[in-house]
Symmetry: C2
Subunit: 148 residues, 2 copies
DNA sequence: ATAAAAAAGGACAATTTTATCCGAATTAAG
DNA sequence: CTTAATTCGGATAAAATTGTCCTTTTTTAT
């Protein structure tokens, strides 16, 4: 199976976008609500939100009225940041054929063509903010759960 | 961890390119030689070559002087074909956020931006033949194993 | 203070992917 | 026909990812 992002990363992106759709009201959201909103397994999502809080992308608050909220402005959080936290930078700098060292001086057979694809992907992730993504959800132009 | 291709697919691509570098001599290569040439675990590579032979991308011959060879011309085998066989078409048609159904009428928040990336990737894989990739290896411009 | 509500954290289970091993089947060559 | 060289196929193991469960800790509200 080919994957572009891990499940953990997919859920992270969706969770952070969801929080951004509610941050105009500066509202926290609790785990069950988040998991429901993005259609993810609750216990697994808990681990992920924990990790995002540890990495300072979210703020977590325990106790009644607690929950999770964005740490900072939605327009200053890029998709790149989330992917980097959850999956590392191998998607941006790794080799398509798995070379430990793939470079212009010792390239794999698809090095140049995939460099262009990686740059394209990296550019999209760097320039897409959570605010932008959340905007399309707010306007009903996109969704956080799939049809069945 | 983010991956673009599975290990099985990485090894497949490298193995097929290796066979193409030897096909001018119309030579078969045996498993140990292939695994050595591409730096892959031999037993796992055996399973992969088996699968490629089952799917008619390779021809396998048992017994003394046996081995594997390309089934058809190297310039008529695209990277796309190999990826499709080994990893299915989810990289080409799947949703970056894992939606079962992600479409223009019910898109995920990154649908359009990732459609462009997928199209870019699909184009590269469709238009890159094994012959072309093997050519760069033959000319010493690219390699099938990484430096350490 | 106490009780209730939430996240934190550890242990564990399930699934998928990657990898190994070995005997069986097939084929070529003498 | 026999032997040796190969791939084939099944069983199994190891590792990574995904997922669950339960107890502890922290915090709010009464």
């Amino acid at each position: 199976m080919i994957i572009m992002f891990s499940k953990a990363c997919e859920y992270s992106i969706k969770a952070v976008i969801y929080l951004a759709t509610r941050s105009e009201q500066n509202q926290r959201a609790r785990l069950p609500e988040i998991a429901e909103a993005i259609g993810s397994p609750e216990a697994f999502t808990a681990k992920i939100l924990q990790e995002l809080a540890r990495k300072k992308l979210l703020i977590s608050v325990k106790g009644p009225k607690g929950g999770f909220e964005l740490n900072g402005d939605a327009d200053e959080i890029s998709l790149y940041k989330i992917v980097e936290i959850m999956d590392g930078d191998s998607l941006f700098h790794g080799c398509a054929l798995g070379f430990k060292k793939c470079s212009d001086v010792h390239p794999c057979p698809v090095h140049n063509k995939f460099k262009a694809i990686r740059d394209h992907l990296t550019g999209v992730l760097l320039t897409t903010s959570i605010k932008e993504a959340a905007g399309t959800v707010d306007e009903g132009q996109s969704f956080l759960t799939s049809l069945k």
